[in-house]
Amino acid sequence: MKPILEIKNISKKFRIRHEHQAYLSLRDSISGLFSAPFSRNSKEVEDYWALKDVSFDVYPGDSIGIIGKNGAGKSTLLKILSKITPPTEGRIISRGRIASLLEVGTGFHQELSGRENIFLNGSILGMKRKEILNKFDEIVDFSGVEKFLDTPLKHYSSGMQLRLAFAVAAFLDPEILVIDEVLAVGDAEFQKKCLGKMEEVVGHGRTILFVSHQMGSLVQLCKKGILLQHGKLKMQDDINKVVNQYLNNEDSKKASKLSLEKEAIKPDDNQIIFVENTDVNGIGRVEFNHDEQIIVDCALSLNNYNPNLEFAISLYDRMKRRIFTIHEPLHKHRQNNLAKFKIVLPANFLTPGNYSWLMCITHPGINYTEIKDDVCHFQIIDNGSVFSKYEGADYGCVFVDYKVIPN
C-alpha cells in the first residue's frame, strides 16, 4: 500500500530579528541610522530552525498523535501540511485531500448570525455549498444552538460559539484531517462528544494527524505517535510507547516540592508557602511504594484571613485525569495567620504511575487564588501488588478495597 502522505526531510527556518519593533517598517531603517549609529550590529538576524529534517510516512487509515513540548515544532509541521506556510527544505507528497482544523471557528464573524456563520466557516474549511446544505440540519443538531440560529454570533456565549464551530468542523469530509489542539477549550461533556465524533471519523478509515497536550485524548484517539523535540523527529512508534517516553522525559525534570522564600510572603494575602510529599517519618520523597502511606505536608500563610477559606487540592495522574479532590476548611488550622497541617493518604490506594497536584486557596462561591497546577510530582511503584503481573497495563487509578461475598 502506498502511503497517503510522504513527508520527506521537511525543514522550516524562521528569521528572528532581535529588535523591539513588532512590525517591519520603512522608518526602522531610517530611524536606526540616528538612534543607534554605533550599535548597528545589535540588530542581528538569527536563523531558527523550527523543524529540521523531519521525515515519516502516513498510511491510509492511520491516526497519528504528534507529541512534543511547546516550541517543538508541532504547529509548524501542521501548518506546512495544511499549506499555510511553505517548508524551507524538503517536500511532502500527498495522495488525498487534506483539511486542516488548526482553530475552531476560523473566519467566524461576530456580526453574522449562526446560520450565516455555518456557511461561511464551512466554505472556508473547504466544504462546497451543496455539502453544507446537505449537512446543515445535522450540524445544527450537533451544535445544539438551533434556538439562536438567527441571532448574531456576538450574542452567543463563548461555549455556544465553540459548539457551533466544532459542529461545522465535525462534518468535514476529507481524506486526511489535520487537527491542532482544538479540544483544550470547551466543557467536559462537549469534549467527550467531540472525541466521540472524531473516533467515529477514525473508525471510517479516515487518516488523522492530531496534536494535543492531553495525553488521555491522544491515547484514546490515535494508534501511532510521533515525538518531536527541538524540531527533530525523536521517536515514531505505537502511541502508548511514545506517550510514555515523552512523559518519563518530562517527569524527571519536575520538582517534588513547593516552597516559597520567606521574602516572597506578602503581608496582605493568602499564600501557599510550602507543600511536600513525605513518608511516615516526615522525609520528603519522590517515589513511594504502593503499600505506603503518603503524607502531604502543607503550610499556608493567611494574611488576608476569612473564616470561610478552604484549601482545595486535587490529584492528577500523568494523563491529566483528575482522581480526587480534598477541601479542607482552614479555620481549624489557623494559628498566628498560619495554617499547618498534614493530609494522610492511605496505603494500597493509588496504582503505580506518576501523579501531580493542583492546589489553591478558595473562598467557596466567591473566588479562588493561588492556583498551583502541576506541582509536587511523585511516583508510585508497585511493591508486589496483585496487579504486578499486569505491569504497564492501564487498570485504573486506584486500588479498591472491596469484598466478595459468597452467594
Partner: protein, 272 residues
C-alpha cells in the same frame, strides 16, 4: 489526486486552483457586504446615499460656485456623477483590497486557500456598491431627460474593466506590501486623496491647459475609464489616445500587482 508541498520555486498563477475555490469568492464578498450594512438603520441605502450626497456637494461648489467648464452643455451633476461612479469603485475597492490581507490575518494564519480571493472579493464589494450607485445615475439621466448614446453599452463595460483592472493591480500590490510594511496603512488614504485630484472627476481633461500635465494625466488609467463613460453622455468625440494608454496602463498595473502578490503570498502567514 497526488500533489506536492515543497519550497517555493516557480511562479504560477494557479488559475485552476482559483476556480476550485470559486465559491469562496462568493462567500467572502457576501460576508463583506452583509457585515458592511449590519446594524445600520438605512442599510444598503448608504451605497446610494454616499455618492448622491457627494454629487450634490460637488455640484454646489464646483458647478454652481466655481463654474467649472465642462466643455459641453451637459448638466454638472451628470458630469460629476459619471466620474464619481467609476472613481468610487477605485477608491473604495483600493482601500478595501489594500487592508484586506491584514484584516483577514486571523484566517490566513489558520487555513489555506488561494490568497488572491481575499483582495479580489473586497473589490467585488465595491462593485456591488457601484451597481447601487448606477441606479442613481439612471435616475439622474431620467430627471434631466438627458439623451444617452447607444455606445454607452460598449463604453461603460470597457470603462468598468479598466477600473477593475487598475483597482485590482494597485490593490493586490498594496495588499501584499501592507502585510510586510504596515506603513502602507497610512499611505493608502493619502494616496487616494492625491489621486482624486489627479483624476478628472471634478473637471474635464480639456480644462488642463498645459500639455505636459495632460500627458502625465494620460498615465492615470482612471482618466481613460471616466473619459469613456462621459463620452457616451457628453456627445463629444472620444479621446482615443487617452483611452488606449489608460487601457494599457491598467493592464500593466494588473499584471504587476498580480505577480508581486503571487510571489510574496507564500510568506503572508509568517508575516501577518
Amino acid at each position: 489526486m497526488e500533489y506536492e508541498i515543497k519550497p517555493v520555486s516557480k511562479l504560477s498563477l494557479g488559475l485552476k486552483e482559483l476556480w476550485e475555490f470559486k465559491e469562496l469568492f462568493y462567500f467572502f464578498t457576501w460576508r463583506d457586504i452583509k457585515v458592511k450594512y449590519k446594524q445600520t438603520f438605512l442599510g444598503v441605502i448608504w451605497a446610494i446615499l454616499q455618492p448622491f450626497m457627494l454629487m450634490v456637494v460637488f455640484t454646489l461648489f464646483f458647478g454652481e460656485a466655481l463654474h467649472v467648464q465642462t466643455d459641453s452643455n451637459i448638466p454638472y451633476p451628470i458630469f460629476v456623477y459619471s466620474g464619481l461612479l467609476l472613481w468610487n469603485i477605485f477608491s473604495s475597492g483600493l482601500t478595501n483590497a489594500s487592508n484586506s490581507m491584514v484584516s483577514n490575518a486571523g484566517i490566513i494564519k489558520k487555513i489555506y486557500f488561494p490568497r488572491l480571493i481575499i483582495p479580489f472579493s473586497s473589490i467585488l464589494v465595491a462593485l456591488f456598491d457601484f451597481l447601487m450607485a448606477l441606479l442613481v445615475y439612471i435616475g439622474l439621466l431620467l430627471f434631466y431627460k438627458h439623451p444617452v448614446e447607444i455606445k454607452i453599452l460598449l463604453f461603460l463595460p470597457i470603462g468598468l474593466l479598466i477600473t477593475i483592472f487598475t483597482t485590482f493591480g494597485i490593490g493586490t500590490l498594496l495588499a501584499a506590501l501592507n502585510v510586510k510594511y504596515r506603513d502602507f496603512r497610512y499611505v493608502i488614504p493619502f494616496l487616494i486623496q492625491i489621486l482624486f485630484f489627479l483624476t478628472p472627476v471634478l473637471y474635464p481633461v480639456s480644462i488642463l491647459k498645459s500639455s505636459w500635465v495632460q500627458n502625465v494625466l494620460m498615465f492615470n488609467p482612471m482618466a481613460g475609464a471616466i473619459e469613456l463613460l462621459r463620452a457616451s453622455v457628453v456627445h463629444a468625440p472620444l479621446n482615443i489616445q487617452l483611452v488606449a494608454i489608460s487601457a494599457i496602463t491598467s493592464m500593466v498595473l494588473f499584471i504587476a500587482g498580480l505577480f508581486y502578490f503571487r510571489k510574496t503570498e507564500y510568506y503572508f502567514a509568517d508575516l501577518a
